[in-house]
Point group: none
Chain length 90, copies 4
DNA sequence: CGGACAAGTTTGCCAC
DNA sequence: GTGGCAAACTTGTCCG
């Protein structure tokens, strides 16, 4: 409704209204996307349940894989550290 | 009880491994996207702060707009409820 | 490491047993009360049904009134938000 | 606002408005009490944390005691069953 | 790091 | 008794 087409014509004096509005819209857009993805995930769980899978177990599996992935990432990071240390010793 | 769709196809006994793997991968893919979007949002807040905007106020503005949208949704929901309550009371 | 506040006072070593017991008992007492109230509510629904009222409609009515109350609370909260947002924007 | 002092004078025809209102108010009163107790419990957890206790461990302890109590209740129930069976055999 | 906020998980209830 | 729905509780995340 209250469109602010003309910068400087409103009561905003300290901040650029256009910039503010752009930022707000970008964030809102992204949050909507995020919500959409969360819904998609829920749908997949529902579909899995409909196919006879146990959602709870499914969540556990994904959690386990996430932990494993984190550990692997940690190890890779450590490898990087070692490598750079070796570089410095060369 | 547990029907064997793919007997002898591997060490899996109760569930179709392919289906399970597909589902897990789809969920993991979506969760990664979700994390990426959350990161994008954080980036925008950081950028806004760098441009002299107060992140706290920004969040409040977005919260206000969300509250407004929620209220509108709530009213729609309430209308639905009234309708069904009236139906049941005849 | 763990400081001994009451040495020799029993097998407890890190925490004051009396305080812990008191807290646990207070919580359990309150949870029991809560359960009792939930039971009372169920009883009223049962009684209402026995008197020919439709429990589902009853729940909807209570839900409607709750939604209204929530909306009023939401508006108050929104007013607060506006005030603080305006304060921060000066 | 919309007071229904005179039964039969309004648009309600099938149910007694007074009875309905009484029931709704009783339930709402009880739900408010329930919420109040839940808040009290939260306060105790906060207080415990302020005193250096770990709320998570506290919850686990209470959960354990609850399980034990349930088991004891189960055993008592079984005893009752045995007793009545013995009575019938006497 | 500690509290506030949101997300996810669990639990209880009702209908079938 | 089971499965879906809604509410409660718990967990994780993010900011200050």
């Amino acid at each position: 409704m209250a469109e602010e087409k003309t910068p400087g014509a409103g009561h905003n004096s300290g901040v650029a209204g256009d910039q503010l509005r752009t930022i707000v819209e970008r964030i809102e857009r992204l949050e909507e996307e995020k919500r959409g993805i969360a819904d998609d995930i829920k749908d997949i769980y529902a579909e899995a349940k409909a196919n006879g899978l146990d959602a709870k177990v499914l969540r556990q599996i994904i959690q386990l894989r996430k932990v494993d992935a984190d550990k692997r990432a940690e190890e890779a990071e450590k490898r990087e550290l070692y490598m750079s240390a070796l570089d410095m010793l060369q």
